[in-house]
C-alpha cells in the first residue's frame, strides 16, 4: 500500500518531471552544439556575415552614384553569371568595400529563423515582397527611404543600380529555399542555473523544510543535479582557453580560398619560414608585394583590400593581424620539426584552408589532440638518424615483425619533448 496521499505523489513527481526536462534539454543542447560546430566548419559564410568591420580606406572609384531611370535596361536584367551572384551575396552581407559607408543588409534583415523578436522584415519577407516588382522599386526604398526608422538606417546609402539589381537577384534565392532554420538555444548557463536552483531547493528541503516525505526522490534530485552541475562545470573548465572554430575578423579581408584555393599559391610561398623555423610566420608586407606589385585589382572587394596592404607598406606600418592559432607559453611547438623532419602536410592541422574565406581554427589545440596524432603517425625509418639510434626498430621493420613505428614509440609522448 502506498503510504502517501495522491496529492503527495504529484508533489513528488513534480521535481522529477522538471529533472527529465532538464536532462532532455541538456542532451538536445549538446547535440545541437555539435551541429553548430559542424555548421561552422562547412559554412564559412555564416561566420562571415557577422562581419561589421568598417572599411577604412577611402576609394574614389566607386562613389559616383548613377541614377538610372526606372525603365533602364539595367533593371530588367534576368540572367546573372555566378560571379555576379556572388557579388550580390557579398553586397548583402556587407563584404564589399563601398567607400566610407557601411551597407550590411544581413545585419538587420535576418537570414535565419530567429528565436528573438526582430521588428525588421527578414530576408524572406523582403524577397517575397519584391519578387514580382522591379529592382527600381527596391532602389527607391534603399536610396530614398520614407519611414522614420528606415530613413535613419538607410541614410546616405550610395548603391549603384547594378548593385541593387544584384542584391535583389541574390535575395530571390530566399523565396525558393526559405530561411535557414535555427534551433532554439538554451544556453548551458541557463541550464546550470536551473539545476543549481533545483539542487538548492532539494538540499534545503532535505535538511530544513522537509516538505517532500519521500527522501529517495529528494536524494535522486540532488544526485542528478549534482552530477549534471559537476559535468557541465568540468566540460566548461576543460574548454577554458581553447578556441576551436575561432574566426576573428581580420584587418584585411584576406581570403585563403582565393589565394591558396583558386590561385593555387603554395602555403610555403607566403609562410616561408614554416620549413626552417619554429614559427610558420605571418608573411611580411614585402611578400605580398611580390604579386601585388602588379596585381592591384580583385574580382570582388579585392581592390580596396589590396590597397590596405600597399598603404601599410607605404606608411611603414605593419598590418596587425589577429592571431588565431596560439599555444600557451609553456608549450613548444616547432613547425620545422613537423613540416621538414616529419613531412606533415599543412592541412593535417590547419584543415582545408584552401576553402576558407575567413580563416578559423580547426583543431582545439588541446594536448589530447597532439598526443592522438603522435600515437597514430608513422616514423620515416629510412632517415639516417633513425637508422643510427633506433636500429632495433629498423631491423624488426625490415624483418617484417612490425609494419610501422609510431611517433609515440620513439618518445613522442615524453613531456619534455614539448614542455621545457
Amino acid at each position: 500500500m502506498c503510504k502517501y496521499s495522491h496529492e503527495g505523489k504529484i508533489k513528488c513527481l513534480l521535481p522529477l518531471i522538471l529533472l527529465f526536462f532538464i536532462v532532455f534539454l541538456a542532451l538536445s543542447n549538446s547535440l545541437q552544439a555539435q551541429n553548430t560546430t559542424k555548421a561552422q566548419v562547412t559554412d564559412t559564410s555564416k561566420v562571415q556575415h557577422k562581419d561589421t568591420t568598417k572599411a577604412q580606406l577611402a576609394d574614389t572609384s566607386n562613389d559616383t552614384l548613377k541614377h538610372q531611370l526606372p525603365d533602364s535596361l539595367i533593371y530588367k536584367k534576368i540572367i546573372f553569371t555566378t560571379e555576379e551572384f556572388i557579388r550580390g551575396e557579398r553586397l548583402f552581407y556587407g563584404l564589399v568595400y563601398l567607400g566610407d559607408q557601411l551597407v550590411n543588409c544581413a545585419a538587420c534583415h535576418n537570414t535565419t529563423v530567429s528565436d528573438t523578436l526582430n521588428w525588421n522584415p527578414d530576408a524572406l519577407e523582403i524577397s517575397i515582397k519584391y519578387l514580382n516588382k522591379s529592382a527600381y522599386d527596391l532602389s527607391k526604398v534603399l536610396l530614398r527611404p520614407i519611414g522614420k526608422t528606415m530613413k535613419l538606417v538607410h541614410k546616405e546609402f550610395k548603391l549603384t543600380a547594378e548593385d541593387i539589381v544584384l542584391i535583389k537577384a541574390y535575395m530571390n534565392k530566399f523565396e525558393t529555399i526559405g530561411l535557414k532554420q535555427s534551433k532554439p538555444v538554451i544556453t548551458n548557463l541557463l541550464l546550470l542555473i536551473i539545476a543549481f536552483i533545483l539542487f538548492l531547493v532539494a538540499t534545503t528541503d532535505l535538511i530544513i523544510k522537509k516538505i517532500f516525505k519521500n527522501r529517495r526522490i529528494t536524494w535522486a534530485v540532488i544526485t542528478v543535479t549534482g552530477v549534471f552541475i559537476t559535468w557541465i562545470l568540468a566540460v566548461n573548465a576543460i574548454a577554458f582557453g581553447r578556441s576551436k572554430g575561432y574566426a576573428p575578423a581580420q584587418p584585411i579581408k584576406f581570403s585563403h580560398a582565393v589565394h591558396a584555393g583558386q590561385n593555387k599559391t603554395d602555403c610555403n610561398y607566403c609562410h616561408y619560414t614554416a620549413k626552417i623555423s619554429k614559427t610558420a610566420g605571418i608573411p611580411p608586407g614585402s611578400i605580398c608585394l611580390n604579386c601585388h606589385f602588379l596585381v592591384r585589382n580583385g574580382t570582388r572587394s579585392g581592390t580596396a583590400e589590396i590597397a590596405k596592404v600597399l598603404g601599410a607598406i607605404d606608411q611603414n606600418k605593419p598590418v596587425q593581424w589577429v592571431r588565431i592559432y596560439r599555444l600557451p607559453d609553456f608549450v613548444f611547438f616547432s613547425h620545422e620539426q613537423h613540416v621538414s623532419a616529419g613531412g606533415i602536410n599543412c592541412e593535417a592541422c590547419h584543415g582545408n584552408v584552401k576553402e576558407m574565406n575567413r580563416l578559423y581554427q580547426v583543431p582545439d589545440l588541446s594536448m589530447g589532440w597532439c598526443i592522438d596524432c603522435h600515437k597514430a603517425r608513422k616514423v620515416n625509418l629510412s632517415n639516417e638518424y633513425y637508422k643510427t639510434y633506433y636500429p632495433d626498430f629498423v631491423s624488426s621493420f625490415k624483418a617484417g615483425k612490425i609494419d610501422s613505428v609510431m611517433i609515440a614509440s620513439i618518445g613522442g609522448k615524453d613531456c619534455g619533448k614539448c614542455h621545457y
Binding site: 638518424y385 633513425y386 619534455g416
Partner: protein, 990 residues
C-alpha cells in the same frame, strides 16, 4: 676516509650542523602572504581574503581570453628568420677584460654570449663576467643620451660646444687630457693619435684601477720591453705563484684557465701548482700545495728561492734573510723543471717583479714559458702617469679632461685629490656609458654605447686581432667613444669606416693571400678573429736578450717586517665583480664567491685562529679606520692577515649595485709610484653590531656524506680507480626492487672532471642566461631561496687553518631511479625515454615533495613571483627590477618563464638537445660527437664539463665514464644519476 667539511662548526661537531639561525622564522612563513615590504604575521582573515581574491581573479581571468595580435615585418630583413637564432662573432672588451665571443641573437635581440672557439686567446672559454655582460645591455640605468650639467641635451649642441672649447683651449696652448683605461684596440689607438695630433698639446693618460704597473716597469728593466709577457701555463710543468690569482682575476684568467686545465689531465702529464698567498683565492683553492704567507714576507721568500737557484745555476752566492717558510722544496722543484716552469707574482712592487724576472731568467723560462712575441696588450697603464695627471689637475694645469670608462673618483685611493683637481678643470667631459662616481661631477656627458652596440677591434695580444660588431641597434641615444672623438677632431667618417680603412691599410698586408679588401674584412668579421702567422712566434723568442740592466740582488730592500701585532690587509678583486665596473649587474651580484659562497656583499676575511684570539664570530661588524665592515671567518686565510674585496660599495652605479658592500678603495696606498694592493692595520675594533650575509654555503648540506673523491697522482698511476674504491662496491651491491629501466636509443649524460674544474662560476651564469633563471635578491638568498639551477659546492678538507679545497658543480643529476619522481602527486616530474628527468611546470602545483625527496637538493621553488610570469598579478618580488620590459629582452624564448608556485630545475638544456636532434633528422644524418652542448659545458674555460649520449660508444663522454675515475654522487642510494663525476687527482709534492 678523509673528513670533508663545509664550515668550521661542522668540523668541530661530529654531525654537520645545519645553521638554525639562518632558517626563516616561523612568523616569517606567514609573512609570505602579506606585503613583502613590511613583515607582519598574517591572520586567518588575510588568508581567506587571499583565497577569495585568487578565486575571483581566476574566474575573471578565465572569462575573457585576450585577443593577441600577430604583427609581421613590413619588409622582412634578408638575414633574419623569425624564430631562428643568429650568431655574430664579436669581442668582449670591458676595461682590461677581453674575450673573443659569439653573440646569440634571437629576432634581433642579443640573448646569450658564447666563447669563440677559433680564438687563439680565449679558445672558446668565457668567464662569469662575460656571460653576464649581455644583461648590462638591457640595463635601464645606463645613460640615455647626451647631457649637459645633468640636463638632457642633443648631440649636435653638445658637439658644437665641446669642439669650440677644445679649439679655444688648443689656441691658448692649454692642456687637453684624455683619460682612458688601457686601450688595446688598434683603430681606437689610431683615432686617439689623430685626436692628439689635431689638438696640439693634448695628452693621453691610461689608468687601470687594478694596476700592473710595477710589472711593466720591471719588464722594461729586465727585458727592455715595457710589456706584460705572454705566459704559457700550458707549457709549464711547474707553476709557482706568489699571490697571483691567475685562474680567477690575474691578467687574463680565461686564457690562463684554458691553458692550465689542459695540463690537469692525469692520464697525460700533469703539472704542479704551488701557491703562496694570504687570502684563499680561486687559484690557491686549486693548488697542489698552498703555503700561507704574509704579503710582507714575499720579498724574503723570493730572495731565498733566488739564492738557491743562483747557487746551482751560476754557482754564485747571494745574500738573503732567513726565509719565513721553507723554500728548499720549491727551489728544488723549480730547478728540476728548468725551462718548463713558471714563477709569477701578483705583487705590484717593482723589486719583487725584478726578482721574479731574474729567477725566471736563471731557470731558462724566458722564451719557453714566458714569451714576448705575442705579449699581452690589455694592461699598459702606469700608475705614475695617472699620479702626475692628478698633481697637474690640482695645480690647475689641465684645461680639459675627457674621461672614458674609468672611474678614478671611486677607484683611486686618493680620490679626494682627483675630485679636487677635477673642479679646477675648465672643460670636463665623460664618455662613459653608465653613470658612475666620476661622471656625476662632470659637465658634459657623451655616453658611450654598450659593446654589443658597437663596432670596434682589439689586439689583446700582439699579432692576435679580433673584431667587434654590433648585434643590436643603439637602444638609447648613445654614441660610441671613438665616434665622438672622430667627430670632435672634425672628421666626417664614422668609426666603422675609419676602422675598415685602418684594417685595409695596416692589417691586410699581414695576410699575403688576400687582395680584395672587402672579402678580407668580411672574412675576418665572420670569424671574429684575425691571427696571421701565429706559428712564427717561438723562433724569434730565442733571440731576445734578457737583462739589459744587470740584476743586482743587493739593491733589494727588505722592509722590516711589521710587528707581530700588526695586521696586514690584502685587497683583492672578486671573480664576479672585479673592480666594480659591472656592479649594477644582478647576475654577478648574486653569483656566490667561489670560496666564501657569499653573494651581494664584501667582508673582511679572517683566519679562524685570529677570530678566536679577537673573539670574533661570523657576521660581527668591525671598524677599520672609518669604515665598518662585517667579518667572515675564512679557513685558509693566513694568520695575521685579513682580506677585503675591492669593487663594492658603489654609490652611483645604478639601482642594483648602489650601496652593496663596503667601499675600501681609499685604504689602498702607493709605494714608489705603484699602487699597492696591500695595507697595514694596527688594531681591530669591534662595533658590537651584527650583519647577516647572504651565504649559500650551509644551505645545501649533504649531511656529511663523502661525495668528492680524490686521489694523488701517484696512487692514480698505480690504480686508475684510486680513491674511488667505493664505486666498484656500490656497483656490485646496489639492487633495486623496481624493474631496471633501459634507455636503448639515446641516454643523455654528463661527465664533470673534478681535476679540471676550478670553480670559477662561469657555468652558473651561463646557465642563468640560457635558462631564464630569475634573480631573487639578497634577502631571498638569505632565506635559502636562491634559484641557480647549477651551484658549485665547495668543501674543505684537512686542517682548519690550512685546508685543501675541492669544488664540485652540482646540477640535477637526472637519476634513472629518481626519488623526486615517485613522490610527485601529479606526475609533474617524470622520466623521458631518453633518460632525462623532466620537469613540467604547467603540471606542477607546488607541493615541493620532490624537493624534499631529492638527495642532491637541486630543485628550486618559486616562492614568489620572481619573473612576473603567470596570469595572477601581485606577489611580485623583484627588487632588482629584472621584470621590466627592457631587462626581459634578455630572456631566452626557447625556455618557459616559470610562474610562482612551481618547482624548477636543470633540464640538461633540453631545448638544445631538441634543436640538435631536429637538425640531424633534417639533414638525414646521425648526431656528431659534442654537437649537443649544454650552456655550462659549452663555455667552461677549463673544459671540465662534457655532455653527450652515453650510448654512443665512440663519444668523448663514453671515454670519460668508462675510466676508473668515474663515480656518481651518493651512489650508495642507487639513484643511478646520469651526471658522472671524475675523481679529483691532485699532483702532490712529496
Amino acid at each position: 676516509m678523509k673528513k670533508y667539511w663545509k664550515d668550521i662548526e661542522s668540523l668541530k661537531s661530529k654531525k654537520e650542523v645545519r645553521s638554525t639561525e639562518k632558517k626563516p622564522e616561523e612568523n616569517e612563513l606567514f609573512a609570505l602572504l602579506s606585503d613583502p615590504g613590511k613583515i607582519l604575521p598574517a591572520s586567518r582573515r588575510d588568508f581567506l581574503k587571499l583565497c577569495g581574491f585568487s578565486i575571483g581573479a581566476a574566474a575573471l581571468a578565465a572569462c575573457q581570453s585576450k585577443v593577441s595580435k600577430a604583427v609581421p615585418y613590413v619588409i622582412a630583413p634578408v638575414e633574419l628568420t623569425p624564430g631562428v637564432a643568429l650568431y655574430y662573432a664579436s669581442s668582449y672588451i670591458n676595461g682590461n677584460d677581453y674575450c673573443s665571443i659569439l653573440v646569440k641573437t634571437r629576432d634581433g635581440r642579443p640573448i646569450k654570449i658564447e666563447g669563440n672557439p677559433d680564438s687563439g686567446v680565449t679558445r672558446g672559454g668565457t668567464s662569469a663576467r662575460v656571460q653576464a655582460s649581455v644583461l648590462d645591455l638591457y640595463d635601464g640605468g645606463r645613460l640615455h643620451g647626451p647631457m649637459k650639467d645633468g640636463i638632457p641635451s642633443q648631440w649636435e649642441l653638445i658637439d658644437n660646444e665641446i669642439i669650440e672649447k677644445l679649439n679655444k683651449i688648443t689656441e691658448e696652448k692649454g692642456t687637453i687630457v684624455l683619460l682612458t683605461p688601457t686601450i688595446y684596440s688598434p683603430s681606437t689607438e689610431a683615432v686617439i693619435s689623430g685626436f692628439l695630433k689635431k689638438f696640439n698639446g693634448s695628452e693621453w693618460v691610461e689608468y687601470d684601477a687594478i694596476s700592473y704597473s710595477a710589472m711593466l716597469e720591471a719588464n722594461k728593466i729586465s727585458f727592455g720591453k715595457q710589456v706584460i709577457p705572454d705566459y704559457r701555463f700550458d707549457k709549464a710543468d711547474l707553476v709557482v705563484s706568489v699571490g697571483a690569482d691567475f685562474l680567477g682575476t690575474w691578467l687574463s684568467p680565461i686564457e690562463y684557465t684554458k691553458q692550465f686545465s689542459s695540463r690537469r689531465d692525469p692520464e697525460h702529464d700533469m703539472n704542479w701548482l704551488i701557491q703562496l698567498e694570504s687570502n684563499l683565492s680561486l687559484t690557491g683553492s686549486n693548488a697542489d700545495k698552498r703555503i700561507q704567507i704574509k704579503p710582507s714576507q714575499e720579498t724574503a721568500i723570493l730572495l731565498n728561492i733566488y739564492k738557491d737557484i743562483l747557487r746551482s745555476v751560476e754557482n754564485r752566492n747571494a745574500n738573503a734573510p732567513e726565509s719565513p717558510v721553507d723554500v728548499n722544496e720549491i727551489s728544488k722543484k723549480l730547478l728540476a723543471s728548468k725551462g718548463k716552469s713558471l714563477l709569477i707574482s701578483g705583487s705590484n712592487s717593482k723589486q719583487i717583479q725584478l726578482l721574479v724576472n731574474e729567477i725566471n731568467r736563471l731557470l731558462g723560462n724566458i722564451g719557453e714559458t714566458i714569451l714576448f712575441n705575442s705579449y699581452l696588450r690589455t694592461h699598459k697603464a702606469l700608475d705614475t702617469s695617472f699620479k702626475t695627471l692628478v698633481k697637474k689637475m690640482q695645480k690647475g694645469a689641465v684645461n680639459a679632461l675627457l674621461v672614458w670608462n674609468v672611474n678614478p673618483a671611486y677607484t683611486y685611493f686618493d680620490r679626494d685629490a682627483f675630485t679636487e683637481g677635477l673642479k679646477k678643470v675648465e672643460l670636463t667631459v665623460s664618455l662613459s656609458g653608465s653613470p658612475d662616481e666620476t661622471n656625476s661631477s662632470v659637465k658634459y656627458l657623451c655616453p658611450d654605447s654598450h659593446y654589443l652596440e658597437c663596432w670596434n677591434d682589439a689586439e689583446p695580444k700582439k699579432g692576435l686581432f679580433s673584431l667587434m660588431q654590433p648585434a643590436i641597434n643603439q637602444i638609447y641615444d648613445t654614441r660610441q667613444m671613438a665616434d665622438s672623438l672622430l667627430k670632435w677632431t672634425g672628421s666626417t667618417t664614422t668609426f666603422h669606416d675609419f676602422m675598415y680603412g685602418y684594417w685595409v691599410e695596416n692589417l691586410m698586408k699581414l695576410e699575403p693571400a688576400s687582395h680584395n679588401p672587402i672579402t678580407f674584412f668580411d672574412s675576418v668579421l665572420q670569424k671574429g678573429i684575425f691571427e696571421p702567422g701565429t706559428s712564427k712566434t717561438e723562433i724569434i723568442e730565442k733571440h731576445l736578450t734578457p737583462g739589459i740592466l744587470p740584476f743586482n740582488s743587493t739593491s733589494i730592500k727588505i722592509s722590516k717586517g711589521p710587528t707581530e701585532k700588526t695586521l696586514e690587509i690584502v685587497f683583492y678583486e672578486t671573480v664576479a665583480l672585479g673592480e666594480g665596473r659591472q656592479a649594477n649587474n644582478p647576475w654577478l651580484q648574486e653569483l656566490p664567491d667561489p670560496v666564501t659562497r657569499i653573494c651581494w656583499d664584501n667582508y673582511v676575511s679572517i683566519s679562524p685562529a685570529m677570530a678566536k684570539e679577537y673573539d670574533l664570530k661570523d657576521c660581527d661588524v668591525l671598524k677599520l679606520g672609518e669604515t665598518e665592515i662585517p667579518v667572515h671567518i675564512q679557513p685558509g686565510q693566513a694568520y695575521g692577515t685579513i682580506g677585503i674585496a675591492l669593487g663594492y660599495g658603489r654609490l652611483k652605479c645604478g639601482k642594483v649595485g648602489d650601496r652593496v658592500g663596503v667601499d675600501v678603495w681609499r685604504m689602498l696606498s702607493a709605494e714608489e709610484g705603484n699602487i699597492k694592493n696591500t695595507g697595514k692595520l694596527e688594531k681591530i675594533e669591534k662595533t658590537g653590531k651584527v650583519y647577516p650575509f647572504a651565504q649559500t654555503q650551509t644551505h645545501h648540506s649533504m649531511e656529511g656524506r663523502a661525495f668528492v673523491r680524490e686521489a694523488e697522482l701517484k696512487e692514480f698511476r698505480a690504480n686508475p680507480a684510486a680513491g674511488n674504491e667505493e664505486h666498484a662496491y656500490n656497483l656490485e651491491h646496489n639492487k633495486s626492487l623496481y624493474k631496471e629501466r633501459t634507455y636503448p636509443h639515446h641516454h643523455w649524460g654528463m661527465a664533470i672532471d673534478l681535476s679540471k674544474c676550478t670553480g670559477c662560476g662561469n657555468c652558473v651564469i651561463a646557465c642563468q642566461a640560457e635558462n631564464n633563471v630569475p634573480v631573487v635578491g639578497k634577502e631571498e638568498v638569505h632565506r635559502v631561496h636562491e634559484m641557480h639551477w647549477l651551484r658549485i659546492d665547495r668543501y674543505f678538507t684537512g686542517e682548519e687553518d690550512n685546508p685543501e679545497v675541492v669544488f664540485q658543480p652540482v646540477l640535477c643529476q637526472h637519476c634513472q631511479n629518481a626519488p623526486c619522481e615517485n613522490v610527485c602527486p601529479v606526475a609533474a616530474t617524470n622520466h623521458s625515454s631518453e633518460g632525462l628527468n623532466q620537469m613540467i611546470y604547467n603540471r606542477c602545483f607546488g607541493t615541493r615533495y620532490c624537493n624534499n625527496n631529492c638527495p642532491y637538493k637541486v630543485r628550486r621553488f618559486n616562492w614568489f613571483n620572481y619573473s612576473a610570469a603567470g596570469t595572477l598579478t601581485g606577489n611580485l618580488r623583484d627588487k632588482e627590477e629584472m621584470t621590466g620590459d627592457l631587462r626581459r629582452m634578455v630572456l631566452n624564448p626557447d625556455v618557459t618563464i616559470r610562474a610562482q608556485g612551481v618547482i624548477e630545475k636543470c633540464s640538461f638544456c633540453v631545448q638544445r638537445i631538441q634543436a640538435a636532434k631536429l637538425k640531424a633528422k633534417y639533414e638525414n644524418r646521425a648526431l656528431y660527437d659534442n654537437e649537443i652542448q649544454t650552456a655550462c659545458s659549452q663555455s667552461c674555460p677549463a673544459n671540465a664539463i662534457v655532455f653527450g649520449d652515453m650510448n654512443d660508444k665512440n663519444s668523448e663522454l663514453n671515454r670519460l665514464i668508462t675510466s676508473g675515475r668515474r663515480y656518481n654522487l651518493l651512489e650508495e642510494l642507487y639513484t643511478m644519476p646520469s651526471v658522472n663525476y671524475l675523481t679529483k687527482i691532485k699532483n702532490k709534492i712529496v
